[in-house]
């Protein structure tokens, strides 16, 4: 069967499955809509959490990122898994005992303050929106490459599917769809990873294969180091970023992960405190299955990419030959994610360090015309072929978008068509599951935290549910808009989401649980300081006149959430100590949080 037919079958089949589950799990009450009725078994919740958490970024982008930056990628691998240790030990059991629906619920009630609640709502909405825009984009990319529709149509199809099960099913529909989506995405990631590992190293497990010895007598990593250095890149196994920067980035990603509202809310859906801990354990197992395969996929993909592009003798592969031997090259060129600029005019593709185009990050700005070999021409192609002969054998002629590594890997390794179709279905599952979780959090923040708890406490359950559904619809439309017109600064915006979660939400929750004396004044001051400092720093370096040599202690904006969190804690502590202790009933609530017994189902009042 052709790839197109297989992809339609796999993606279409998975959609039918999700819709079927959505109809089966319709939500009838706010409780079902917000926390799936509070009766989700821990293992199912673990899978749903894993699918919720592993977005298009984990599935599509992370292996590409590690593949291109080597050891510095460890910050993301550890940051996005180590956060679960914090969640399991410091947050999940206590928040489950607290037994409400949302993060603003906890912050508003614990700090007995509407101001604190509204700040938490604002953080939740900003974090979730920045995140969801990237997901819709991921869906668009997959559709445009595999189903030959344009990116915008892809985004609209994705919106329609999410609309269907998020609006109808609420948390209940989302949870059980996510269980199915986890199965699809883990299969779609693991199968090609096993194939790749077996092909490159002879070991089936990529976790072990990455340490294996190749035919040339060197290990995979030593080969990669060698290839990278020969082409003018830095060594794969050594880092480029400073230790303090990597340290802060890892802290920000870990605490940010633990502070993300759409992850936290998953722990409100289980029946008991004990189950909250256990589901964190399951969730991390399910996440680790994918995350520990990523370094292998990244490494093998990099070896394959370099060897394909530079040909067997390492002097470059003829573009004409790639058209038949490596069709993926031109297919991705057509989607604009690969570009070739024949700088030395020899008709061969050469890949090395440096940019072949003058755009930001070496990105080509394509024209409609094609060159003499049929390659796409760009307005910003470099017109010289200069390079430093001491460092590399030729000038770089290729732009490869990092995001295509996972999707192109099966093509590059010439795996069977059904594997490629499976990867497409997996990428869509990863993007949709996360998008749905985020949309639910946004709609809950509006209907529950804002409408019910802040503006009009007298609305009925039915009205609240209606608001939740309306808010979900509006949120989907806005997310779709960002998917079709992606802001040019997606990377910075995602860093902002983690920075905000790390500097505002995470310390506020931790201090609320572990420090009985913390009061509303301290919490509000702390959250505002964390929020404002992190936002200003990121804004200054992303849009203002900031340059990297002005970084505070050499910390890049992605890691600044760590500094924001420290400021939050210090300011919160000082302000709290200078003002009155919280009321007795609040102190009793905190004491009660710490004892597992007596957890009621998540409730409203």
């Amino acid at each position: 069967m052709s790839l197109d037919v297989l992809t339609f079958l796999f993606v279409g089949g998975s959609f039918a499955l999700y819709i079927g589950i959505a109809i089966w799990a319709r939500a009838g009450s706010t409780k079902e809509f917000y926390v799936a009725g509070g009766g989700v078994p821990p293992i199912a919740n673990g899978m749903a959490t894993a699918a919720d958490w592993m977005s298009a970024a984990s599935f599509i982008s992370l292996a590409g990122l590690v593949s291109f930056i080597g050891r510095d990628g460890s910050a993301y691998l550890m940051g996005w898994t180590g956060g679960y240790v914090l969640l399991a030990l410091l947050l999940a059991p206590y928040l489950r005992k607290f037994g409400k629906f949302t993060v603003p619920d906890f912050i508003g009630d614990r700090y007995y303050s509407q101001t604190a609640r509204v700040i938490a709502v604002a953080c939740t909405i900003v974090i979730s929106f920045t995140y969801v825009a990237g997901q819709m984009r991921g869906v668009g990319i997959v559709f445009s490459r595999y189903l030959h529709v344009d990116i915008n149509t892809g985004v609209i199809i994705g919106m329609a599917i999410v609309f269907f099960y998020a609006v109808l099913g609420g948390m209940k529909g989302i949870t059980y769809t996510q269980v199915a989506q986890y199965c699809v995405l883990i299969l779609a990631f693991t199968v090609p990873a096993l194939f790749l590992s077996a092909q490159v190293t002879g070991h089936i497990l990529p976790q072990i294969g990455l340490g294996a010895t190749l035919d040339n007598g060197m290990s995979v990593l030593a080969t990669l180091d060698q290839l990278s250095v020969d082409l003018g890149f830095s060594q794969y196994t050594s880092g480029k970023k400073s230790t303090i920067d990597i340290f802060c980035l890892t802290v920000a990603l870990m605490c940010g992960t633990a502070g993300l509202p759409h992850v936290i809310v998953r722990f409100f859906t289980v029946p008991r405190v004990k189950d909250a801990r256990i589901s964190a354990g399951y969730a991390l197992i399910f996440i680790a299955l994918l995350y520990t395969a990523i370094p292998g996929v990244a490494g093998f993909g990099r070896v394959n990419l370099i060897q394909t592009l530079n040909g067997p003798d390492g002097s470059g592969a003829s573009y004409e030959a790639l058209k038949t031997d490596a069709k993926w090259f031109q297919q991705w060129e057509n989607t604009g994610l690969i570009g070739w600029n024949d700088r030395n005019g020899d008709g061969k593709v050469q890949y090395a360090a440096g940019d072949a185009f003058n755009g930001a990050k070496g990105k080509p700005a394509f024209l409609e015309e094609r060159g003499e070999h049929g390659q796409r021409l760009a307005t910003n192609a470099k017109d010289d072929a200069n390079f430093d002969p001491a460092k590399q054998p030729f000038a770089n002629e290729v732009y490869v978008d990092r995001d295509i590594m996972v999707l192109a890997n099966p093509d590059i390794a010439q795996l069977p068509n059904w594997v490629i179709a499976l990867v497409a279905a997996g990428a869509v599952a990863a993007a949709l599951s996360t998008a749905a979780g985020l949309l639910l959090v946004i709609s809950t923040a509006i209907s529950h935290d804002l409408m019910k708890k802040t503006i009009n406490p007298n609305i009925s359950d039915k009205q609240e549910l209606l608001y939740a559904r309306l808010a979900a619809i509006v949120a989907i439309c806005i997310a779709g808009y960002f998917g079709i017109n992606p802001p040019g600064f997606v990377a910075q915006v995602v860093a902002l989401a983690f920075g905000l979660a790390c500097a505002s939400v995470f310390p506020a929750i931790i201090m609320g649980i572990f420090w009985t004396r913390h009061n509303s004044q301290g919490a509000i001051a702390g959250m505002l300081v964390g929020l404002v400092s992190t936002m200003c720093y990121m804004y200054y370096f992303a849009f203002g006149s900031g340059t990297p040599d002005q970084y505070f202690l050499g910390i890049s904006p992605g890691g600044f959430g760590t500094v924001g969190a420290v400021l939050h804690i210090v300011v919160g502590f000082v302000v709290s100590s200078m003002t009155a202790a919280p009321p007795k009933e609040i102190q009793e609530i905190v004491a009660d949080l710490r004892i597992p017994r007596g957890a009621t189902e998540a409730h409203d009042h």
Partner: protein, 86 residues
């Protein structure tokens, strides 16, 4: 809630001790082995990996999984010891 104040405090102290032990290991494998002492550990080969690199990309994740589960089991035991389990 059926337990006395002193018992609740003793339970909380033991809970904090469990948390601190786990977080100490969590810190050592990730921030210690994979960031602060990565260069030193990279001198040691480990199944084809430089050890520091292995901790950053694989080892720490395996340890994280084990940590959550040992925490789950220690807490379940502690809950029963103080009779606060559900």
């Amino acid at each position: 809630m059926s337990i006395s104040n002193e018992q609740a405090q003793a339970y909380w102290r033991e809970n904090l001790r469990i948390i601190m032990t786990h977080l100490a290991i969590w810190f050592v494998v990730s921030y210690g082995c994979a960031i602060l002492f990565v260069e030193q550990l990279n001198e040691i080969p480990f199944f084809g990996f430089p050890l520091g690199f292995w901790f950053g990309q694989q080892g720490s994740i395996f340890v994280f999984v084990v940590l959550i589960w040992t925490y789950v089991f220690s807490m379940n035991k502690l809950d029963e010891k103080y009779d606060v389990h559900e």
